[in-house]
Subunit: 355 residues, 4 copies
């Protein structure tokens, strides 16, 4: 870290800062400028925090020089990680195509949507059994019954499934039925939940919070990694901003920013980022063009009957169309849509399921 | 709700919208303008959601006319609620003065700070035993040992205590030791946690999330209320913005906005809102002047030794000074700093503790 | 417009609202719901404003149903406009490739950079002669001398030039030397300047302000259009947000949002949006993938010597590489990089200039 | 400035950075840490810019240690400035009470409102003759005719007047009729306009832009100061944020932040900050409590007839009430509402005008 002292810091204050910092186990390097005194701290930055240093009288500004996320940082792990979700690879040129309805609803509808999106080229099927809803009066998900339906769809079409986890008490249950655990935007800094999913062996899809800086996102990934679970896929899904045109502000530049800082893959979710079906196709393509390792899109066959978030879902035929365009884009970019685990050719679901 | 149809919505679409809405149990009222067709929906708005209506083909915009928070709304409960925290009243002209360190640390320090802030006029003592920290490597709190120290301080000085709850599995434990449960900003939309604290009998201090609109905050309060716990105090503690001058953006106008919409009290937390000790006093006074029902301030007797957030704490003598000013402001505004439960005169802590 | 009255609006208030609105020349349509009374206004919305209606006692909310930008709206002009900048077409599948340094600097450097970017495929050369700088002590541009150099580069390589206008007194002068007038982000709501460029015959490149909603941007375009100048190209260049990773927040979803609302073309500027050269290539591709009608990129051959904004410029060889990728992307999307006016084949500048 | 070099910066890069920086006229101070090399620059920071330094290969981060606003900084001028507006003092404990309608409208109404607000205690009368309106179709102000009315009101009641300047060509004209020139939020970075008002002798009321950091605001003040006009009063009037509850986000903490950084006074404008009359009184008091040097409030006697912004104005009787409260608050804070220039007692307008 580097400490910039206040203009007019006294010699006593300077001595106290040096003594304090050395007592923490750092070597110091003093530099008196015309206007400001600067103290370089040489040693293990994890021995203290910016805030603690900021509290020492005379300190004006604390400048960290190393990222506080150690396991997640690209400096620690220069090669891009490839996460394997029950046979589907994400990262390192392998694209995740995650699709499905917002909530798990009745079995027949789920089978229908599942079949359709897999046929179109999705390689991960999604659906929420536990829904974090803004209103206590809104549909909260089918719970375990929903997990069973989700698993059934996954098995029928040979596609791994991902679903949201909202309760630290449910991690084992959800992990039993699904291939990947999603931590939603509203829980991105639910550190109790992050710690629990970090103890699971399931890969984790970690969505960026609406007020989260990229560093916040990487710190939350670090929670999971530090518990021993190295399989984290990040997801940009829009942050808060002032323009009501879209539900959130789709931060597509976060994709290359994140890829510069971490070895973990990052996908985009234009459904939640924009909240508008007409914007999903252009924003999905933009995400891929920016380098995303996959695209998450909500699909529903009758949005007006959806139990949640129907307004931001594509119809199955619209999804089919955008996957074709994404496949062409992937080819241009030299990337591959990951094949389903048991398929012999790319993107072709098991024929028995589609018959 | 009011539905504004798309420019050029067809007669078939209009018929379909009407039929769909009536099938939900609403009466409809059709109005064809020069440019737009509008459908008024008459009935119980909780039968549907904006998103579902938005999904119906031909619908351009959905305009709710009633707030979605029913129990929290002032329309439902015109009189301001006064929340009683083990004898200390908050709301309706009674001011909460919450003070204490960010984290519970060693017993002696806690007793010292507790004695000091109570002597200065605090009527609720705070300290975190479970800390939601951005970094998995930072101090995470003393856990149950911290709760015991907190309780000891509360008992010694006759002051109720408030502490943060971060894990739905800990609600009973935390409720046993403390008088009020704090739900922090990062958990404001942790609906699992809100539901659990809603089942508790302890009053809840609900902090506004960094990306939460005021409606989001009220919806989170509604989660607690809808579980049967009517004792919610809201807290404005800063939202995300673009200026790095302060840690967050202190939204002081939220105080009167919230008071217009709900009967629940709202306090302000200039420590977290600004992250700078020099800004706490002016922002505390500004909060009271805007009508806040109390002020939450972090106090530590040696910020550079604080286990967390020392940089945003006042020293005990600074806290004493600002309480004097807040007392004068309260008088000007015709409000009262709530006395401690057993004190015969306002703001005088039990003499045995201070002796 | 639609007026939603306050809960509990009295009959007298309702009568007054109706009378007031009818006196403005509207017909009204009254609808009393269970909870709210709604008044539909039928007539020419330009006769009043939201704010005026909001001021009438009893009115709770005013909902406009038509966009306030009449000339810019796609409803008024369903077909996408193609803007011609001295022979280079922008919009309707024709892509602008705007490149050049932030500021016009010395003639030799400008000729070198101009030759290079035109050779790479740029079809509009940019450079600022009047620089709006945050600091009064920073380089403010070469003024008319800079305009002359810019013109010389344009003439030498047969490429139209665009430069920023900051002073309403300079419109004629700048228009004499350049093919397109840029209104910068900080002047997007400088209505005096907008009015003056609206009187010019030069096409206008209008950049989105850092706090501008998309509606604000379209209203500013309307200023120019309403003065008689129909040739406006919009530009997304990043808005303010809370994450310090990038200089601004690149709102790529604004591209399809804008294209849905207006017939005017919209390009993207990843240089200003991100402020980081490493992010320019992925964000340029993302912009095209989202449907942008062109890309604006700063290019400098020695960023550390640039008089302004060197840190966000690409080197000429980096620009050459990204144009190749953008050309491949354009082909995939079925679009064309507009050829230079006098070139017989696409993207090949006059051979005499390059010899 | 301090330069933090990139992890893995080569010796050649380090040498080049040092040579480059020394060629600019700085001394350097090299410090090699375990992970990062740091170069301290000793000398006059105005010789270069952050951006230029950022462009040097190998540089990771540039950290300025001195504020870039030299004349505006409190380091340069430790004592708070008191600005004199034709006899009304602002700053150093003297409070400005600015009131009046958004736009100058007909003479009789202006005289009526002017008389009323002066009687209530206003010491500066405001009204816009040139209105920067988002829509080209909205009322744009009466121009010079409006200036004349404004002057007439000022003369009638012995109160200085302030009005907005939007066009650099109008500075002399506006300065002839008014006592103070307002630069509005949308023009805060209209550097051409700032330069022109900097050449005027009239005090300037500089409003913070909706996307302006506090440093941006101070840099804009520096433009005016650097032209020779030392009389700048700053104004916080709300910045952009995500919550639609209020028109802008009232950043009350900006008041003490600004006062720590500059000697210039800062007032607050709760009318524009919130856009809601019900929020003006609590936010006005909050601004004073936070230490503001004055309060700007829009007042109109018939908001529904106002030519602009009626919805955010107080009625004269509401203004009278809030001034009483502000006067009590001022007394508590040990400040004085500046008397009118010719009044013998505080806040009493010339009796002939009120008779």
């Amino acid at each position: 870290m580097i400490l910039i002292l206040k203009n007019g810091a006294t010699d006593d204050q300077i001595d106290h800062v040096i003594q304090k910092v050395e007592s923490m186990g750092f070597q110091t390097h003093l530099s008196r400028g015309t206007f400001r005194t600067i103290i370089g701290m040489i040693g293990d930055e994890s021995l203290t925090t910016e805030q603690q240093l900021q509290s020492i009288p005379g300190v004006h500004q604390v400048i960290p020089v190393l990222p506080p996320y150690k396991l997640a940082s690209r400096e620690a792990h220069p090669e891009s990680s490839v996460i394997d979700v029950s046979g589907v690879k994400i990262g390192g040129g392998n694209l995740a195509m995650i699709a499905g309805p917002c909530s798990v609803e009745d079995r027949d509808r789920m089978m229908r949507i599942g079949e359709s999106v897999v046929k179109s080229g999705a390689n991960l099927f999604r659906g929420g059994a536990y829904k974090p809803r803004t209103s206590p009066y809104a549909f909260q998900g089918l719970g375990e019954a929903g997990l069973k339906i989700l698993r059934e769809v996954g098995d029928a079409f040979g596609v791994p499934v991902v679903t949201e986890i909202t309760d630290p008490r449910n991690v084992e249950l959800v992990a039993e039925y699904s291939d990947m655990l999603q931590v939603g935007a509203r829980n991105m800094q639910n550190f109790v939940l992050l710690t629990e999913v970090g103890k699971s062996e399931r890969p984790v899809l970690l969505k960026r919070g609406m007020a989260a800086t990229i560093q916040d996102l990487l710190m939350s990934a670090e929670y999971v990694l530090s518990q021993g679970n190295p399989n984290v896929v990040l997801c940009e899904r829009g942050i808060k901003s002032f323009d009501p045109s879209t539900r959130n502000l789709y931060d597509v530049a976060a994709v290359p920013v994140v890829q510069g800082l971490t070895h973990l893959p990052i996908i985009v979710d234009p459904s939640h980022a924009t909240g508008r079906p007409d914007l999903i196709p252009p924003c999905a393509l933009a995400g891929l063009a920016a380098g995303a390792d996959g695209v998450h899109i909500e699909v529903h066959d009758c949005p007006e009957e959806a139990k949640s978030d129907g307004a931001q879902a594509l119809l199955p035929e619209q999804y089919n169309e955008i996957v074709e365009k994404m496949a062409a884009m992937a080819e241009l970019l030299g990337k591959t849509i990951s094949p389903l685990p048991n398929s012999t050719t790319n993107n072709t679901p098991p024929t028995e399921a589609l018959a």
